[in-house]
Symmetry: C2
Subunit: 261 residues, 2 copies
Amino acid sequence: MGRAPRILELFYDVLSPYSWLGFEVTRGSHGGSGLQGPVQIPTSLEYEAAIAACFNGWDHKRQWSGFPSLRTSCPLSTNCLYSPLPGNKPLAMVPRKGQYMFKEIPLLKQLFQVPISVPRDFFGESVKKGSVNAMRFLTAVSMEQPEMLEKVSRELWMRVWSRDEDITESQNILAAAEKAGMSTAQAQHFLEKIPTEPVKNKLRETTEAACKYGAFGLPTTVAHVDGKTYMLFGSDRMELLAYLLGEKWMGPVPPTLNARL
Amino acid sequence: MGRAPRILELFYDVLSPYSWLGFEVTRGSHGGSGLQGPVQIPTSLEYEAAIAACFNGWDHKRQWSGFPSLRTSCPLSTNCLYSPLPGNKPLAMVPRKGQYMFKEIPLLKQLFQVPISVPRDFFGESVKKGSVNAMRFLTAVSMEQPEMLEKVSRELWMRVWSRDEDITESQNILAAAEKAGMSTAQAQHFLEKIPTEPVKNKLRETTEAACKYGAFGLPTTVAHVDGKTYMLFGSDRMELLAYLLGEKWMGPVPPTLNARL
């Protein structure tokens, strides 16, 4: 009898920089990773697109009206920049955390070897504009052409978190999809799916699935190993994830694979 | 000319479990660490005791009256369980984060090999009781007998975060100090320093120093390397810290040292 299959689920949002780091580590696409490194492991990756309520809880409160149990607060709001509770104002200390993020990301860029760069006005423009259409586009892709999800997700991150470009306008979502290898016709097809109920419902369901696992921010990784389910928060839990999978952690970019690049 | 000295400062609180993990990794006391592992590095460790305002902001608001600039909010409150802003109630999502912590700590216990265990009623009893006297005791120790700071800190963590024992009563602080190797007379001497102005001021100054570095939670590690200063938050930034120090990260307990235990 073979070993039971191990499944990882990664809940992410393309507005979340730490989601990008977690995505690249689990994906191993920039030179392998401790999780998919020298040792082949029977782990299948199921990417699920989850909207980052942490970025939307305040200004986009109405988005949550579809969640009966979540009407008074956004489901992923512990790290919310805009508190979801009515009457709250952004916490006095939030600027400290934002400042920290801006200083830390250039360091993580080097450590993770992901071309991440803080947008000029992230907490203003980017957060305000949100990512709901981009996430619905990804949801549509995941429903019909899941093999493209990884590349399109990455191109959306490349836009907002590497080149400081918009991901809310239709032509910009199209541009990311085409850069990922889609034809214009394909990309246009998915764009037309954005306002449809099946896509909107699917994104809500995915977010609710994250909530049911206990998620409170993104990325959230859920590992199903040997009959147990572990929920881990953050791009900084990848070493713990490797431990749970029984794999040797070799860093976000293992030296041996790195040397081969 | 030799290399410029590299200095690490670790701001911690003995009520903070993640502080304990960060403390043991930088200290390397449970079998070495990636930071003090096989390669000797010219890093001096300066432990500083900082009160975890994140645990005290709400119920112990008056403690902050000594900080002119901080009257309306606790300085380390982003992860505050009890929001420091008047009129706020604990965030609806906090239970999710608490539940996550309870599930994660047993996993981190294995990964870090620190005998950490969640107290029975941490968010109730432990948080409510706070740690200000324990932290003032440590401050007094750091002022007169800094070589004892590490051991006494660990024995306080062992009480609250391993054996679920009190650290607020005088006899319990004494017991931790004696277990760390202090004579009863010495421990009594430091106990009497708790309510004195120099000790109270020193703890305030240390906390303010953390704030000046931009701290918003504990542990906060400040690394001074090659003329630059880096502030890192959390016990999960130790791999990044190793990277900044130019050291190979070998995990919280490097395999070679681990095998020797």
